[in-house]
């Protein structure tokens, strides 16, 4: 297929060469030349026919990749004009409402990018909107991987790479919007200083080291600049390449279906189908982000004014991906312990610890689940979320917690826009912080169980046709139609694991066996994952045969 297209495109160059005449055209020569030096033929042979399965949710990662590329491209343009310096200047640029105001060179250059550099404001907004989309897409991509169980062996390390990309992406975003040194970004840097200072024992030292002295000092913007444009993007680029190499190495996962096994991948080849799709998708992503950047303002630094430590504006929230840390701080009571001349600022330190924990649970989950299930096999067929109710419930619980904290972080805007009391919202978030995830877990788990029952019902009794039939004795029944074979396969392809059993209480000699607390805990968790309250036994072929034989009206 591909070679055929290749010949067509070069028909004119070849002219009317006769078949059998030895005449290589330019492209072929170039390819030969490159192969002699880079070995591209074997590389291409191994990878160009790489198969990718088709599902819209498998393209979420591509959104991340493309927005990251857009961020790098626009970021390079911005570095050409940005001055990462906290030196003080008086503004005399073209934005008149700030004429004659003292500001840092960083803020002045950010204003110049917005008002004097050709295309500067658009590029700035593309950079910022792409960052917002980048982190959002990473989270959604991660949800897809989580809920379908794609993080299981052999992909745990790739999950960690992805997790690190999310974590670094968030902090790089934070540093990015801190750089212009406007009132909002300065408030964010101040917030971070407070969080660092709250760390017992080492907090003050860390703060002095990072800021090069008392806040704000003269170092933090240049340092953030280096970290933002060099250090973190460098690490992220490395992780990204490793992430993609592992995707190639492991091959892509797929949903269950006829002909799909743990040993194959059913889909379309990279060349030409996915090359075209992915290439086109890149431009579509760029187009959507550029369109949004052209119509909607993001981070209007000129309106915030330059940062001065004695000023602050309300609505001082971070970008959305840091919003849950803002929520943690806002709902936390201002506890403080003073003893022996020291202050332990629990009102900030506890949120900082919870902030870390919310990430740690993401990172360790694959290993935790692997330990509980004791499953050492490779998995390339994806789970449907309903068939792993505990995992799905835990994921939704995390998302619920995250959303509650986002609401807590925007409590003032919910108060003004919904005409409520900010204190009522804060207290609701405090209670929901503990109750919300539990309720979310229980509801989700039951929901999954309901869906499993529905699947079972559909398998055994077919789908409702909507046709009502009256039987001779007057009873009305709805005619059910059997599902097609491939649908039956799809619904029953998942395997159902039995919970781990503790060894018998006494061994063969009648001696009481010692069972450690860890083993007991594991057995209990395993029962939680695979016990009768978390999975409905899927129908067997015999059951199906029995129920469908004879009485067709079911």
């Amino acid at each position: 297929m591909s070679t055929h297209a290749y010949d067509d495109s070069h028909e004119e160059q070849i002219g009317h060469s006769e078949a059998g005449v030895e005449q290589k055209h330019l492209g072929e020569k170039t390819a030969d030349w490159a192969d002699g030096r880079l070995g591209i033929y074997s590389l291409a042979k191994a990878n160009l026919r790489k198969i990718f399965p088709d599902h819209w949710s498998f393209m979420l990662g591509e959104i991340c990749l493309y927005s990251f590329i857009i961020i790098i491209l626009t970021g390079v343009y911005l570095t050409l004009f940005f001055q990462p310096s906290m030196g003080e200047v008086i503004y005399h640029g073209s934005y008149t409402p700030l004429q004659g105001i003292k500001m840092s060179e960083a803020y002045e250059s950010a204003l110049n990018i917005s008002f004097d550099v050709r295309g500067g404001l658009l590029i700035r907004q593309i950079h910022h909107w792409a960052a917002i989309v980048f982190v959002a897409a990473m989270l959604v991509h991660m949800m897809r991987v989580f809920f379908t169980g794609a993080f299981r062996k052999p992909r745990e390390i790739n999950w960690l790479f992805g997790f690190l990309l999310l974590f670094l992406g968030m902090f790089d975003g934070f540093m990015g919007y801190s750089l212009p040194d406007d009132l909002l970004s300065g408030t964010g840097i101040r917030f971070m200083e407070g969080a660092i200072l709250s760390v017992p024992l080492v907090g003050t030292y860390l703060q002095m080291f990072l800021y090069g002295g008392q806040f704000p000092g003269n170092d933090i913007i240049p340092r953030f600049f280096t970290i933002h444009v060099l250090l973190i993007p460098g690490i992220m680029l490395g992780l990204l390449v490793a992430h993609l190499i592992l995707v190639f190495y492991h091959k892509h996962t797929q949903f269950a279906g006829p002909g799909r096994t743990e040993k194959n991948v059913v889909g379309m080849p990279l060349m030409p189908v996915y090359m075209a799709k992915a290439g086109g998708f890149f431009f579509l992503v760029f187009g959507v982000i550029a369109f949004v950047s052209a119509i909607a303002s993001v981070n209007p630094i000129w309106a915030y004014g330059p940062y001065r430590p004695d000023q602050v504006s309300t609505d001082a929230q971070p970008d959305w991906y840091m919003g849950f840390s803002e929520g943690l701080i806002r709902i936390m009571p201002g506890w403080e312990i003073r003893a022996w001349g020291h202050t332990l600022e629990l009102g900030v330190f506890i949120p900082l610890v919870v902030f870390g924990l919310m990430f740690v649970v993401i990172a360790i989950y694959p290993f935790l689940e692997g330990w509980i299930t004791g499953d050492k096999r490779e998995h390339h067929i994806l789970d449907r979320p309903r068939n792993a109710p505990v995992r799905t419930g835990l994921g939704v619980a995390w998302i619920a917690e995250y959303l509650i904290l986002l609401v807590g972080g925007g409590n003032d805007l919910f108060a003004t826009h919904l005409h409520m009391s900010i204190d009522a919202i804060t207290w609701t978030c405090r209670i929901l912080f503990f109750v919300g995830p539990v309720v979310a877990f229980m509801v989700t788990k039951r929901w999954c169980m309901g869906l499993q029952r529905k699947d079972k019902d559909k398998i055994l009794h077919g789908r409702e046709t909507g046709t009502i039939k009256r039987l001779p004795h007057g009873e009305f029944i709805e005619v059910h139609a059997q599902l097609p074979q491939e649908e039956l396969f799809r619904l029953t392809a998942h395997e159902q694991q039995a919970p781990a059993q503790l060894p018998p209480a006494v061994d063969e000699n009648g001696v009481k066996r010692k069972v450690g607390a860890v083993a007991k805990l594991r057995a209990k968790l395993s029962a939680g994952y695979f016990g009768p309250q978390s999975q409905i036994a899927k129908p067997t072929a015999e059951e199906h045969a029995e129920i469908t034989a004879g009485h067709g009206h079911h």
Binding site: T96, L98, A137, M268, V288, A316, G323, L413, H419, S421
Partner: protein, 267 residues
């Protein structure tokens, strides 16, 4: 006398009595009415008189018959005419119902009536006076912005879009508020707002702040250079917009692309 008495049931008697009475009151008015030379004081006191009348109808139920205050409304002794002009002129007073904060609504008195009430309340005790135009015009936008960010943005937000305060109270949006009312608010500190008397914030600074607010909230003078402002309330609305419209559109695109695959024909 008898003649008069005899005619007292004449059909025109009532008319004659009426004419006499009118002539008498008219004559008395001509004789006793204040002369125009004393008019300044008199029209002032007339305005106070009218203001008092309006006050007793519209305000006294909460503020007391003499503005001394009740448990429903504070004393108005010493609040000055500027406070009345602001509260009634922005429609906050008369209040609709008690609550965390009295919102601005439709103004129900005309400016003449507001002036009368203001004149009356000013007689209860000296306080801030309604400013004149030269007191609140001609400020500098740039220094006003700096002053605004120092003194006002904590509650009213960097763009004057307003913000939340505790227990359901709030700092309102400053869009569309007249220069005079902004000046009066700074002077009198209505509701939850602190007051900024001239001793702490000189008149020039007030002018600058007013110039900034009127610039920042006026989309003709200060267009949104980056496109839609999304409410000018910072990153929360930006994040929401990014998730719903940018990521939403991209996921929609992904679904569209994934659906455009040549599928193997079903046998």
């Amino acid at each position: 006398m008898k003649k008069l008495s005899a005619r007292r049931r004449h059909p025109l008697a009532a008319l004659v009595v009426l004419i006499f009475a009118l002539a008498a009151t008219g004559g008395l008015w001509a004789a006793l009415a204040p002369t125009s030379s004393a008019s300044a004081d008199a029209s002032q006191s007339l305005q106070v008189e009218e203001g008092k009348r309006l006050f007793q109808v519209g305000c006294a139920s909460c503020h007391g018959l003499n503005g001394e205050g009740t448990n429903l409304g504070p004393s108005l002794v010493g609040v000055g005419s500027a406070a009345v002009d602001f509260q009634v002129g922005t429609g906050r007073m008369p209040a609709q119902q008690p609550g965390a904060q009295v919102p601005s609504k439709k103004v129900i008195y005309n400016q003449a009536q507001i002036d009368q009430m203001a004149a009356y309340v000013a007689t209860l005790g000296s306080g801030p006076v309604i400013p004149t135009q030269d007191q609140y015009s001609g400020g500098n936008v740039a220094s006003g912005g700096e002053l605004f960010r120092t003194n006002c943005a904590q509650c009213h937000n960097f763009a004057g879009a307003g913000g939340a305060l505790s227990e359901g109270k709030y700092a309102p949006s400053l869009a569309g508020v007249s220069a005079k009312h902004i000046y009066e608010a700074m002077l009198t500190g209505p509701q939850n707002m602190p007051s900024f008397p001239n001793s702490t914030m000189p008149e020039q600074q007030k002018k600058d702040i007013i110039a900034y607010v009127q610039h920042a909230t006026n989309s003709d003078a200060n267009p949104s250079y980056g496109g839609m402002t999304l409410g000018a309330i910072g990153p929360v609305s930006e994040g929401l917009f990014g998730w719903i419209f940018a990521l939403g559109a991209l996921i929609g695109t992904a679904i569209w692309i994934a659906a455009r695959t040549p599928k193997a024909k079903k046998s």
